[in-house]
Amino acid sequence: MANEKKPNRVGVFICHCGTNIAGVIPIDQLREYAMTLPNVVHADNYTYMCSTPGQEKIKTAIKEHNLDAVVVAACSPRLHEPTFRKASAAGGLNPFIFEMANIREQSSWIHMKEPERATEKAKDIVRMSVARASLLEPLDTKYIPVEKAIMVIGAGVAGIQAALEIADSGITTYLIEKDPSIGGNMSRLDKTFPTLDCSQCILTPKMVDVDRHPNIKTLTYTEVDKVDGYIGNFTVTVRRKARGVKEAECNGCGDCAAVCPVTKGNEFDLGLGPRKAIYVPFPQAVPLKYTIDFDSCIKCDLCVKKCGDKNAIDLNMKDELVEIKVGTIIVATGFDLYEIEKKEEWGYGRYDNVITGLQFERLINASGPTGGKLIRPSDGQKPHNVAFVLCAGSRDQDANPYCSRVCCMYSLKHAHQIMEKMPGTIPYLFYMDIRAFGKAYEEFYYRIQDEGAKFVRGRVSYIEEDPVTKNCIVHAEDTLLGTPVTLDADMVVLASAIVPKETTELLRNKLTISRSPDKFLLEAHPKLNPFSTSTDAIFLAGCCQGPKDIPDTVAQAAGAAAAAQVPINQGKVALEPIAAKVNDDLCSGCGVCGSLCPYKAITLSEIGEGHRRASVNDAMCKGCGTCGAACPAKAITMQHFKNEQIRAQIAALFTPVGGA
């Protein structure tokens, strides 16, 4: 291991990145500087180092100049390190004797107005990289087998789509859903914009397909408890919540619910309709199995008696933990609506006739609590005009600064549904901008205007309730007229913002994936990798990553499904060879390292009476280095991030050699 020859023939390749780097930093000057650095025997530059001719330059130079290490000064290693490692390998070097000097994100792009200081900094960065490259060691990539199964967390339309794509290609899929039925928010919707096809009609067949698919194991009323492992080898512990009903025995007849004496607001109908303590959330539920809400069940036994010989009900059922091994995971946990009651000026929760867009969906939905009749919650009467408040909690520094992307379109759709079902009832849309950006969306906007909906360009400042009529007096400015206006509305629909599901944060911590400032889960790259995360083998689909309409959700789900299958189909995954290594001669067996390791990858073994040694399991170690930094005897080496490699960078920064 030690005493191998250190690289002393380093080649430096400087990328112009078009004008991204060359426009700020004089490339020739940088190249000449690189040539003065210790161990550098060759320096070259090219417009786009990542292009084929650029990579070719590296390959050729390795041979021509007998290089034993390569430094590319270009963009971030997070972008192109894999590209150039391959190029080095193609030239015959070990791909790990390669170092990237990030002079774009870390210099030219952030100091565009100070080219001289940007150049100085670029020289420092190159010098530090060369110093490090001169101490890099060849490493072997290890491969580990992959568990041939995928878990999809969340069974809304995103999860359903992803599960079907994966299962169809023959891979075992575990579909985990915390609610009693799959279907998610989409199953609550009535029509979908802009085509107006019925949401249930297009979703239900997919739900049934999931139920029948031989490769899909659907676990409803189930939550993720714990996640262990890493790419290819995750062990997920799920909690099968006590349903009170044995799924195998229940035939969904509903006799139990008929005799249940407890009535509650049905969460699925957002409290607008009732359910029993033993219930299915909606008639098309999949699986069509009843669930007992133990928080409200009074254990009167009536349902048990009614169920009789079928013996499907168990009032003493307990939660059950199940371990599932999978190779990759897709997160598709969806969205909640922003708690719009926090915007007190609009009176949601205080005024009977102020509802949210999702509640509107339930009221206008033929399978909803009113059978599709839009009525005022205060008196059951038909509204003669309805105000829609767009951007309710979106584009708002006090609530959510982002645009929720679907509210304009679904509010247009709501307006259409009102005019279609209830001739004479007028929808008024209070908007700031109508964002109709999708295919056939702007045309839909045209159609709704043409149908007679009224549009007022102004945000609603406040709503008052008439204490007698329970009408809502909406106050806004018609900014196009420049006049304050009021509307005496029978009903108000708040297009409440989309926020990540409340439970996402807990799950995120279990999966160690990141979130963006808007609290949605963070994708690996906003443009080129919108369905991966920074953690290998964990993927994102749907609104957990950001507000989306149904087509975008389905597209992302299919993308995530394809990406999640890649390691499964390869059958093995490469491990970055950056694991910790213990030097047996130095290890005193104190055990500090073992107590720090988050992956339990370090074990202590007895090597004679009173003497212990630490050893590292390569497959379990992820190379974080927490142990290495703590080892009092410096017995732990972090491969590719060795002490001397890092200290060489520090020394090169503060005590420059070369650069004459």
Partner: protein, 182 residues
């Protein structure tokens, strides 16, 4: 004679003016997206020409002359409803106050505002005591003069030094002179 052009030339806008107003306490004007929440919630604008959103718009465009000379900026009762509800955290009330400060420096403030300064300069109070209240105070068991600058006039030189020190009384004097000329 040719008719007067009805076109507003945006070149008239003074970019620096917008920054000045922002520095004067009216932060974030440039992020205003003109939603009208301010105008719609304004209790004063329901009965007169005060249009808060329009003032924000004119400030963002730098229309200094029109703003400082407008009567409307003096209609605001500073209830802060607009500031409180603004989804962009613009502070329309503070923008209006900044505009009023600038108008004052340009000797465009209504007279009654400066009158307050005179009262404070003379007595320490914008609403000084009168004989009826003195009598009432005694009846209520309070001292005839409250324990303010009324009972302790030795504090008045300090009050005057402040009013002189910031230059406000000089503005008042200039305005009085302007008034006499008229």
């Amino acid at each position: 004679m040719a008719l007067e052009s009805q076109v507003l030339s945006l070149n008239k806008g003074l970019v620096n003016f917008t920054h000045e107003v922002e520095k004067g306490g009216g932060e974030n004007i440039s992020v205003c997206y003109q939603c009208g929440t301010c105008t719609a919630g304004c209790p004063m604008g329901r009965r007169n020409a005060l249009r808060t959103r329009k003032i924000m718009r004119m400030t963002a465009l730098g229309l200094k002359d029109e703003l400082l000379k407008s009567d409307e900026i003096w209609y605001c009762s500073t209830c802060y409803t607009c500031t409180d509800r603004c989804p962009r955290h613009v502070k329309p009330t503070d923008v209006i106050i900044a505009l009023r400060n600038m108008a004052t420096k340009n000797l465009l403030a209504p007279k009654n505002f400066l009158q307050n300064a005179t009262f404070i300069y003379q007595t320490g109070h914008a609403v000084p005591i009168n004989d009826a209240t003195k009598k009432l105070r005694v009846k209520l068991g309070l001292p005839e003069n409250p324990p303010t600058t009324h009972a302790f006039p030795e504090f008045m030189p300090g009050v005057r030094a402040i009013l002189d020190g910031t230059g406000l009384m000089a503005i008042k004097a200039q305005m009085d002179a302007k008034e006499v000329k008229k």
